[in-house]
């Protein structure tokens, strides 16, 4: 069954406290190449049947109203992934 993937990231101007904690942990494990980490969210919306334009529009709407908070986050990607 096809899925619609929605990716949400904290806005660039907002300091991401979780990302900051992760970037602090990386060098302790020897991963020294990474100067910054930002942590986002990936949602997978499963669709029973075909993904029509209408369903995709619904997913975009849901991404903006529920899945993300536009004050602190951006929806960076909405795409269909076939199973």
């Amino acid at each position: 069954m096809p899925r619609i993937v929605v990716d949400v990231m904290p806005k660039p101007e907002i300091l991401d406290p979780q990302g900051k904690a992760i970037v602090g942990a990386l060098p302790r494990l020897g991963f020294t190449a990474f100067s910054s980490v930002r942590q986002g969210k990936r949602f997978e919306l499963t669709v029973d049947g075909e993904v029509t334009e209408e369903i995709l529009a619904q997913a975009r709407d849901a991404a903006e109203t529920l899945l993300s908070n536009p004050v602190i986050e951006d929806v960076v990607n909405v795409e269909v992934v076939e199973a």
Partner: protein
């Protein structure tokens, strides 16, 4: 909810018996945990608390609403994000924006729900130090003209408990400047900023002053012997007496 014996003294009843007729709704979502304390604070202030269930579709005849703290829906997705779409919230949003300007107080998770509802601007993210923090916190009342702060003096410092993990208040600079210019920063942290909130903001109001949200917990500082050791321990009671005096004043 009203049958629990009071340990403290309901001081405000004697002060103004007309307050007892006021009905303050306290909303419970799945995962709310401070609803009992909020109802108790309402009763100690001299009014009648009314249980409101998140799935309800009517506010009944309440004169004001408290959205208490806790972890509605386990803070899944974002703190307050799922609770914001509960059936009762659309009633609260409409009533808060109506001519009648229903007084609404959001405490901690309730504040997060109010920002997710766009009744208040900005948002809360994880504390800058990433830890859950619980402490007695000094706040300065920056605006005593809101529905929930009229019984305080402007600039008065009060101590109430603070306990949160996602308490860092953020908004863009333009919004912060507007909040400051319009006197909508209602509470500021004093001495120590416990979560990295912009401009030490602990609580804000909407433009009309009927909707107030803050991260610290006034409902935990209403009963002598059970509140913070600093100060009188009952310095949160003024929130609840303020709204009662406002309601009684409006009904004159």
């Amino acid at each position: 909810m009203t049958e629990l014996p009071l340990i403290g003294e309901a001081v405000a009843v004697a002060a103004n018996p007309r307050l007892a007729g006021a009905r303050i709704g306290v909303v419970t979502f799945p995962g709310t945990l401070d609803d009992r304390d909020a109802a108790r604070a309402v009763r100690l202030a001299g009014a009648t608390p009314v249980e409101l269930w998140h799935a309800g579709t009517t506010l009944g005849d309440v004169d004001a609403v408290v959205i208490p703290g806790g972890f509605s829906y386990g803070d899944y997705l974002r703190a307050g994000a799922i609770a914001r779409f509960a059936p009762l919230m659309s009633k609260i949003i409409d009533a808060a924006n109506s001519e009648a300007k229903l007084p609404v107080l959001g405490i901690c998770n309730g504040f997060q729900i109010l920002t997710e509802s766009h009744l208040l601007p900005g948002s809360m993210i994880k504390n800058d130090h990433l830890k859950f923090m619980c402490r007695d916190q000094v706040l300065r009342v920056e605006n005593n003209t809101t529905a929930w702060t009229g019984d305080y003096a402007a600039g008065q410092e009060i101590t109430v408990p603070l306990k949160n993990q996602d308490g860092q208040y953020i908004a863009d600079e333009k919004t912060l400047d507007a909040l400051e210019a319009e006197g909508r920063v209602v509470f500021r942290y004093v001495g120590f900023n416990p979560n990295g909130s912009r401009r030490d903001i602990a609580g804000i109001s909407n433009a009309a002053g009927n909707v107030v949200g803050l991260m610290p917990h006034p409902e935990h500082a209403v009963e002598a012997g059970f509140g913070p050791e600093l100060g009188s321990g009952t310095e949160g009671l003024g929130f609840f007496t303020s709204v009662l005096n406002k309601i009684v004043g409006d009904n004159k």
